[in-house]
Every structure is written in structure tokens, then in C-alpha cells.
């Protein structure tokens, strides 16, 4: 099962490599990883997605917590949560029919065309991972030149929050 794990960690050199190294060392996979400083720039927030049963997820959370730099860890998939991912897609768009079809597809998915050349459209799309997957399938036949995905960012629904 897919797990979304959020980590609050000291924004120090080496901290990220310890997280990534832990996954390699213990034989866990990282499907996506996003990391950036928070409003407090001494702290970084990581969101990490992986696959695993309850036992493995528990071990991952405990192992992450054991890292000295780690302040808080939570498996978001244990409760209600929101996930978002940003995607940029460059699509070959030379024929006018394709350009029209692509525009309507982008509207349906509530994306934006953020760059246009005579031969290409670049589309920006945000949403959960399944939505981005669906968009890729929808436009695959049109000729995808490049896909860039940010990886998942996640946050708990409601009153729960992760803060020092």
C-alpha cells in the first residue's frame, strides 16, 4: 500500500543524505521525495512516498525518527490527508487540431498552458498523483516530449499539524 510520510527535520547539511541513505540501507524504496525549508528556515519539511505494509511503515517511521536530525515524523496515510503534486508537460503541438484538442483537455483537467511555441505547448497541472497519471494517459497519443513531476507534497486534513 502507498504510504505518504511527512518529516520535519533540521535544515542542516547532511540531513537529507541521512534520510535517503536510511532507505537504501534498510531496503525500502522511495517512490517520490520532496524537500524544502519551511516558514522557519532552520527546518526542512520532507514528504516521501513509499510502498509497504503496516509493519514496514511502522519500522520506517521509527527508523526515521531515530535519526538525530529528525524532529517529527508522521505517516499521513494513517489518517485523513491531502496530497498534491505539480507537473509540467511539454507536448508536441504543430497541427491545429491537436492544439485545439490539447487546450480542451487542459481545461477539463483544470491545468494551465504556461508556454507556447509554434511547435509546442507546455502544460502545468496540479493535483493528486492519480489525476496527473490520468492527464498523461489522455494526452499520450498527442506526443509527449517531456514530463517533469515534483513528487508528492502532503498535509493532514483538519486540526492536525506538524510543527516544533
Amino acid at each position: 500500500m502507498k504510504r505518504i510520510i511527512s518529516i520535519l527535520i533540521e535544515n542542516e547539511s547532511g540531513a537529507l543524505s541521512r534520510v535517503v541513505g536510511l532507505f537504501a540501507q534498510r531496503g525500502y524504496n522511495i517512490d517520490t521525495l520532496t524537500v524544502a525549508p519551511t516558514d522557519d528556515d532552520t527546518l526542512s519539511r520532507l514528504t516521501l512516498t513509499t510502498q509497504g505494509d503496516d509493519h514496514m511503515a511502522e519500522q520506517i517511521v521509527k527508523q526515521l525518527h531515530k535519526l538525530i536530525d529528525t524532529i517529527k515524523v508522521v505517516d499521513l496515510t494513517q489518517g485523513a490527508y491531502i496530497e498534491r503534486e505539480l507537473m509540467l508537460v511539454k507536448i508536441k503541438a504543430t497541427e491545429s487540431e491537436i492544439r485545439r484538442e490539447l487546450k480542451s483537455c487542459v481545461e477539463i483537467f483544470r491545468g494551465h498552458i504556461i508556454d507556447v511555441t509554434p511547435a509546442t505547448y507546455t502544460v502545468q497541472l496540479a493535483g493528486d498523483s492519480e489525476k496527473l497519471d490520468a492527464f498523461i494517459e489522455a494526452v499520450r497519443e498527442m506526443g509527449i516530449m517531456e514530463v517533469v513531476r515534483s513528487g508528492v507534497s502532503g498535509i493532514a486534513r483538519g486540526d492536525k499539524f506538524l510543527r516544533v
Partner: protein, 578 residues
């Protein structure tokens, strides 16, 4: 305020951290630090012959005293040579700080001479690591390093210091932090009260209990509490390889070591137990055998300071995260207050059963191997003689292999911190440098390194260190002219094809080798010489004595768990199994 350079600050901070001894080896990137060491007398440095030995010696010092060991090495090869020592300490949760010199900040990343990314290379085998980038940060980093190494589940911490950070021309005021506070690291020692109550109820209700205790009891100095608990309940105790000495080896309630080479009675009792109380032990694969078949009837209570060790290999029914030193006294007082008491009939019956197992197949109720005779000296008998000659009071270090298991089985450790071995990593070459660390800490105590002709050669150069720093350890070399444990496995699993496990005629003359280093060498080839020569060796209090003892080359370590079996599935000798 006094102004100090980075190198001077480092040494002053070590002093203020309470460090009296540093094991190490100098080199380019560490020279500012070594110059600062030279100009003071508070911190004594012990020069070794190889950086791996520096770390093992600091490790032996730590294991025997409970204090944090310290090693100092230079960058590049100095740092990488230290890696095996650090990994050894990491696997056995030994508190230690390893300080490595690094190329100057301006050269980092340029493939400079003797540059290695020490923080990167050591990352998977340290509790934590620091790269210090300013002289202003040295004192605080050292304080943090010792705090992290010693608290929670202990472990090695690396502090990597670029050469320009210790530059003597840059001087700043020195101040050692009064206390260490880290928002991201707050180890807790108290166990959950509700869980502790549940554990006590389950423990009192047990009919076939076993206390299975590990290195955590030793590391946490919780031996007295364990003894009090076991005595109060009259329950049997078994120790892991790392836990030996945590419960007295000569006590009637002691079942011996458990696991791969554990006793029949300990492994069989575990298998049939209805309650297993794991205290500071981590269900290592060398204990459990096949996880699927592990102790099918048991409710598991588990105390460990490290949450990741709980329910990692074996699901704990009652997990308690906390230190042995805090949880055991709490349990004791709850047992005192409890209205129920253990079912004494059931416990008596359990003891009857265990005594039967002991009488049938135990290694302490009868000799389960052929006796030594003439030139055929049994390695087990050497360990028994060592026990007799040292009256069971020596600190015994070991290397890794058959000799290690014989020492673990036949030297009955009554006190914690007297059995010093590399249990988790299984590092050959550990024994001699670890013995140096123990001897430095306990100069008046007999320190014996039980080794083999394979292991001892992995750090034999330290015989020179023993001369320089006057560390008169005794080496008990069980010489069977082969990698005994490898050969045992080749006998059992590879139709005795001895692939690269025999030395043939290549072994050195250990007597002359010891003498070349200025020590005493003694050869023992006949069982009748054993006691006299060993007594002679231990009578030479101020000399290193290398006892090279020819032992039976065909001997195997038994009992031995059968692969893929449960705990009680054992080979008892070459032909008999359970």
C-alpha cells in the same frame, strides 16, 4: 578571556568532556590537533600501529568501563582504516567518539591528497556525525558528540574537522557549554506505566517463563536489578552473547547462553516457554533461528531503549520502550506491591523440567566432548583452565570464531563488562586492541585475549603498542592452524572441502614473533603443560605473554542450531542431534 586555536579548543573540550585517554594515529590533516596535544598533559594520547586498532582499543576501554571511548585519526586512509572499528561499535551500541582530521575546507571536493568524505563513508555505521566548519563550533560539537554517544541507545559519533578549522594562527575565546540541548534529540528512559503493569501481570502469571537478557543490561549497568528480579521470581535466565556477565554465570538460575551456539537447556527452555521476557536484547538472527518457528507458545514482553528494535524481527505482545535501569526497578516495586504471586507449583515443575534437560544434554552437568589427552588438547579445556587459573576474575576479550564461542560457553562470567567481544559485526582482529583498552582502564586486573591464529594476525602489529604503553595483556592463542569456524561450516555444509581455510606451513613462529616485540612467548603442545605454563604466564604481571597453544584441529563448536529450524533444533555433537 583566554584565546585558543581550534586545535587547542578541541583538546580542552575533550578534557572538559571528562576524557582522559585518546587512542590514535597522526597524519597531515590532524597535525594541528597533535601539536595541541603535545603542549598539554590533561589528555593522554596512546599511539597505536593501525587506526582500526585505535578504534577497537577505545571500544574495549568503553565496554570495560562504561565511559565513552575516544579515537583520533587523520583524513583519508586514517579515516577509512577506522571504519571497521566504528562499524563494530555501532553494531554493539558502544558509546564512542571518533575524531577525524579532514583536508582544509578550501580543498574539500577537489580530490585533494588524503581526502575522503568521512561523513559520507561512515554514515550508515554511526549514530550521528558532524562536519565542523568553524573553530567557533568545535566546543559545542564535542559536547553534543559525547552527549549523543552516551545517551539513549549508545553508539559511535564521528566528528570530522578540516585542517584549517584547527589553524593555530586563528585564536578565539573558549567556552565549554554547561549543558547540551537539542530539540531534535530527546531520548527518554521511562517506560510506559500501563505497559509495565501489564508486563508485571503477565510475568507473575507465567508457568514456564524465561528471562532472555542481552547487551542492553550490561550497557545500562542494570545487572543488579536483573539479579533482584530473577531472584524474587525464581525464574530462569539466559544471556545472549552480548549479555554474558549481565547475570552471574555461576548462579543456579542461569541456563547458559542461548542461540546458535547456546546450551541445550537455554534453547529448549526458550522453545517451550509460555512467557519470554526480553530485556535489552534484540532477537538477533543468531539467537532466533527461523523466525517462523521461533518460540511458538510464548507471550513476548520486550524492554528496549530503541523503539526500532521492538517488533522488528519478532512481534512483542507487550512492548516497553525505556532503559533497563529505569523499567526493571519499577517492575520490582510493582511485583512487591502485587497481591498475586507466581504459581510456585508451576515454577517448581518448570525447574524440574529444566534440570532434566541440563542433566540429559547440558554442557555444564557433564563433559560433552572427548577429553584432552597427550598432544590432543581440546580448546574447551584451555578455556576451562583459563577460568581456573584466573579464578573467573579476568577481563576476557575475544576475536571471532570457534575460540570466541568456546570462551563464551566455558568461561562463566559473573560480572558485567568482563566479557568483551564483537558480537554484532563479528570483527576478527578485535581482541588484542580491545584488550589494550581494558588493560589501560584496569591495570591491576588480569586481561586475557582469547584468540586464534587467524584472528590474532589481523591486528598482531599491536604487540608493539603494548610495549610502548606498557599494557601487559595475556594472549591465549587457540592454534588449530585453520580458520576453525569456517572449517566447521565447510565440514557441515560443503563435504569438508576446505576452501582457503587452512594455513599449511605458512604460520609464523608466534613465540619468536612475541619475542621480537620484546614480549614473552610460550608454546603449549601437551595437555600436561597447560596448567603450569598458564600459571607461569599469569604470574608475570608486568609482561605481555603470548601463549600459543596447539589445539585439536578437528574440534567443532556444539551445540549448534540447525539452519531453518526452531531454537531447540540442535546438533549436540558431530553425530547426535535433537
Amino acid at each position: 578571556m583566554e584565546l585558543l586555536s581550534g586545535g587547542e579548543i578541541l583538546i580542552r573540550a575533550l578534557k572538559d568532556a571528562g576524557i582522559k585517554h585518546v587512542w590514535g594515529y597522526p597524519g597531515g590533516a590532524a597535525l594541528h590537533i597533535y601539536d595541541a596535544l603535545y603542549r598539554q598533559e590533561d589528555v593522554q594520547h596512546l599511539l597505536v600501529r593501525h587506526e582500526q586498532a585505535a578504534v577497537h582499543a577505545a571500544d574495549g576501554y568503553s565496554r570495560s568501563t562504561g565511559e565513552v571511548g575516544t579515537a583520533l585519526v587523520t583524513s583519508g586512509p586514517g579515516a577509512t582504516n577506522a571504519i571497521t572499528g566504528i562499524a563494530t561499535a555501532y553494531m554493539d551500541s558502544i558509546p564512542m567518539v571518533v575524531i577525524s582530521g579532514q583536508v582544509p575546507l578550501t580543498k574539500i571536493g577537489q580530490d585533494a591528497f588524503q581526502e575522503t568524505d568521512m561523513v559520507g563513508v561512515s554514515r550508515p555505521i554511526v549514530k550521528h556525525s558532524f562536519l565542523v566548519t568553524r573553530a567557533e563550533d568545535i566546543a559545542e560539537t564535542i559536547a553534543k558528540a559525547y552527549y549523543i554517544a552516551a545517551t539513549g541507545r549508545p553508539g559511535p559519533v564521528v566528528v570530522d574537522i578540516p585542517k584549517d578549522v584547527t589553524d593555530p594562527s586563528y585564536q578565539i575565546p573558549y567556552e565549554y557549554p554547561a549543558e547540551v540541548k537539542m530539540r531534535s534529540y530527546q531520548p527518554s528512559d521511562k517506560g510506559h506505566r500501563g505497559q509495565i503493569r501489564r508486563a508485571v501481570r503477565t510475568l507473575i502469571g507465567a508457568k514456564r517463563p524465561v528471562l532472555y537478557t542481552g547487551g542492553g543490561v550490561v550497557l545500562d549497568n542494570a545487572s543488579e536489578h536483573l539479579i533482584a528480579l530473577a531472584k524474587k521470581l525464581n525464574y530462569p535466565v539466559t544471556n545472549t552473547l552480548m549479555g554474558l556477565g549481565g547475570y552471574p554465570g555461576t548462579d543456579p538460575q542461569y541456563l547458559g547462553m542461548l542461540g546458535m551456539h547456546g546450551t541445550y537447556e537455554a534453547n529448549t527452555a526458550m522453545h517451550h516457554a509460555d512467557v519470554i521476557f526480553a530485556i535489552g536484547a534484540r532477537f538477533d538472527d543468531r539467537v532466533t533461528n527461523d523466525l517462523e518457528k521461533f518460540c511458538p507458545h510464548a507471550t513476548i514482553i520486550h524492554i528496549d531503549v530503541d523503539p526500532t528494535s521492538v517488533s522488528k524481527n519478532i512481534e512483542a505482545h507487550i512492548p516497553i520502550v525505556g532503559t533497563c535501569n529505569s523499567v526493571l526497578p519499577e517492575m520490582l516495586s510493582l511485583i512487591d506491591q502485587s497481591e498475586t504471586t507466581p504459581d510456585s507449583d508451576a515454577i517448581a515443575e518448570w525447574w524440574q523440567q529444566i534440570d532434566q534437560w541440563r542433566a540429559d544434554k547440558g554442557i555444564y552437568t557433564a563433559s560433552r566432548y572427548e577429553e584432552s589427552s597427550g598432544n590432543c588438547i581440546k580448546p574447551q579445556d584451555v578455556i576451562k583452565m583459563l577460568y581456573k587459573v584466573t579464578e573467573g576474575k579476568a577481563i576476557v576479550t575475544s576475536d571471532v570464531g570457534q575460540h570466541q564461542m568456546f570462551a563464551a560457553q566455558y568461561y562463566l562470567f559473573d560480572k558485567p563488562r568482563t566479557w568483551i567481544n564483537s558480537g554484532g559485526l563479528g570483527t576478527m582482529g578485535f581482541g588484542l586492541p580491545a584488550a589494550m583498552g581494558c588493560k589501560l582502564a584496569f591495570p591491576d586486573c588480569d586481561v586475557a585475549c582469547v584468540s586464534g591464529e587467524g584472528s590474532i594476525q589481523m591486528n598482531i602489529q599491536e604487540l608493539s603498542t603494548c610495549s610502548q604503553h606498557n599494557l601487559p595483556v595475556k594472549i591465549i592463542n587457540l592454534n588449530n592452524a585453520a580458520l576453525g569456524m569456517v572449517r566447521q561450516w565447510q565440514d557441515m555444509n560443503y563435504s569438508s572441502r576446505y576452501s582457503e581455510s587452512v594455513y599449511e606451513e605458512s604460520l609464523p613462529d608466534f613465540i619468536r614473533l612475541a619475542e621480537a616485540y620484546g614480549h614473552v612467548g610460550m608454546k603449549i603442545t601437551h595437555i600436561d603443560q597447560l596448567e603450569e605454563k598458564m600459571r607461569e604466564a599469569f604470574a608475570m604481571k608486568d609482561r605481555v605473554v603470548f601463549l600459543d597453544i596447539d589445539v585439536d584441529r578437528s574440534e567443532h563448536v556444539y551445540p549448534m542450531q540447525m539452519p531453518g529450524g526452531s531454537m531447540r533444533d540442535l546438533w549436540l555433537n558431530k553425530t547426535e542431534r535433537t
